[in-house]
Amino acid sequence: MNVIDAQNVSKNYGSSRALSSLTLSVAPASVYALLGPNGSGKTTFVKSVLGLVRANSGTILINGIDSNDPKSREGVAYLPEKFNFFPYYTIDGVVKFYGSMKGLSGSELDDRCHLALKTLGIDDLVGKKVKECSKGQLQRTGIASMLMGNNNLLILDEPFSGLDPIAIKELKDLLRSLKEQGKTLFINSHILSEMEKLCDHAAILNKGECLAQGELQSMLNGKSLEDFFYERVKQ
């Protein structure tokens, strides 16, 4: 069973079409990149997957459950493009809140929180408030929050945004290790160079339409992702 199964998903905002009959499937334990220029409908699709946006037509199944059913999100963790939280929360408070929302409690919550903060290299920031954090620290907090709970699908919207080169490298390593653990990663991005090294499947969106999709290497057919992307989008 596919982790994400979207069939003919369309979404309009007024007269503007954000998604046009989009069909795609994401297999378990894969790293799937949704690529496209700004305004191509990537975030709209992710929000439709999470039930945050109601598609005008089509169906999306998450682990076999309709995305409009909140149960479909039980094994899903989401990192929005601009991760933000209440300014008075501490970094560890945010991660614990995410953990408790995923059903963790007591010493398990504390241990998982400590491990997540350590994995992201922000365990020295315990007690620091969200309002005092840099964009990069906040992004790492968001990623640490995703590690709480038993999620089999991690959806990341522009995860490299706001991170320095060191943090980007560390994040890619972390995402690879999560893949090795059997997690499915669905990543929205327009940073092609990073995604080429990371993903095994991809779809290219432009103006709400899917221009190409499939296993990355067979789709590229020897071309670089950048060249392939440019050709398709400019066609």
Binding site: L50, V53, R73, F86
Partner: protein
């Protein structure tokens, strides 16, 4: 059976944490406390003057009357705070983008709404209880008589009930209007609900047909479909000002209507919330 998800509890406590930091509430709390303390000092002065004029028994009357007036004042402030919190409750999540994160958890939209409403309600009721207890203690000292009687408890219950739909209505208006407009519109609307309840609670159908007007035509569905906050307020006032009179049997009917209409109101607001893209 429709059970609550584990997220509900965490969103409820998160609402309390969020609203307890609301500066408007703290400002109103400080202002209410100052008004109660200053007017209590004025009351003491009046009691002394009454004593000088040897007005036997006047102290007791002066002691109970301001408490009732303060009840009305605190009641009004509670409504203002309920609307302030209600308008801010979901719209501040939207402004900060936190709603996207919260709703990406396996939580139903109505659970998110009800958790936010109940968290906000807890804060407003806490403000209300604090203000009433402060006023009652000060006036008990001034009048040398214990003021925390049944009527205050009855008022507390009714105002707690009034606060709940007030918050929900403010949330509904915040979906469609900017915060400031939503605040004033909610304030106006709650006054209109009271007007509708006052108009129709005593009016029979034939009287309505004889005295039909545009305002009454608009007021009728408001009276029929929304919780009768005006009727609850009237019930409190009648108990406060005429404590010897028994509670009208109409009150229990109003309570039954309250439960049904509140459920309908929450259903309608949930319906709108469910259809909103976040």
């Amino acid at each position: 059976m429709m059970g609550l998800s584990s997220c509900f509890k965490h969103i409820y406590f998160n609402t309390i944490q969020k609203e307890i930091r609301n500066k408007s509430i703290w400002s109103l709390l400080i202002m209410t406390s100052l008004v109660i303390i200053v007017l209590n000092a004025l009351l003491n002065l009046l009691l002394q003057l009454a004593g000088e004029f040897q007005m036997a028994g006047a102290g007791m009357e002066l002691g109970s009357l301001p408490l009732n007036l303060f009840y009305t004042l605190i009641d009004f402030f509670s409504t203002v705070i309920a609307i302030l919190i209600g308008v801010n409750s979901l719209s501040s999540d939207e402004d900060s983008g936190v709603n996207v994160q919260l709703l990406s958890f396996p939580v139903k939209r109505w659970e998110y709404l009800v958790a936010r409403v109940l968290g906000s309600w807890t804060i407003v009721v806490s403000y209300y209880v604090y203000s009433i207890v402060l006023a009652a203690i000060l006036f008990s000292i001034s009048s040398r008589d214990f003021m925390m009687g049944f009527q205050i408890f009855f008022g507390l219950i009714n105002t707690s009930l009034i606060i709940l739909p007030t918050i929900v209505i403010a949330i509904l208006f915040s979906f469609f209007l900017p915060k400031l407009f939503a605040f004033f519109f909610s304030l106006f609307f709650m006054a209109f609900v009271s007007y509708s309840n006052m108009t129709f609670s005593q009016m029979k159908m034939d009287e309505f047909m004889q005295q039909i007007s545009f305002m009454k035509i608009i007021a009728l569905p408001v009276h029929l479909l929304l919780p009768r906050t005006g009727a609850l307020s009237s019930a409190t006032n009648s108990v406060l000002y005429n404590p010897e009179e028994p509670i009208s049997y109409m009150y229990w009917g109003t309570l039954g209507h309250y439960l049904l209409s509140l459920a309908l109101l929450i259903f309608v607001v949930s319906w709108f919330l469910k259809r909103r893209d976040v």
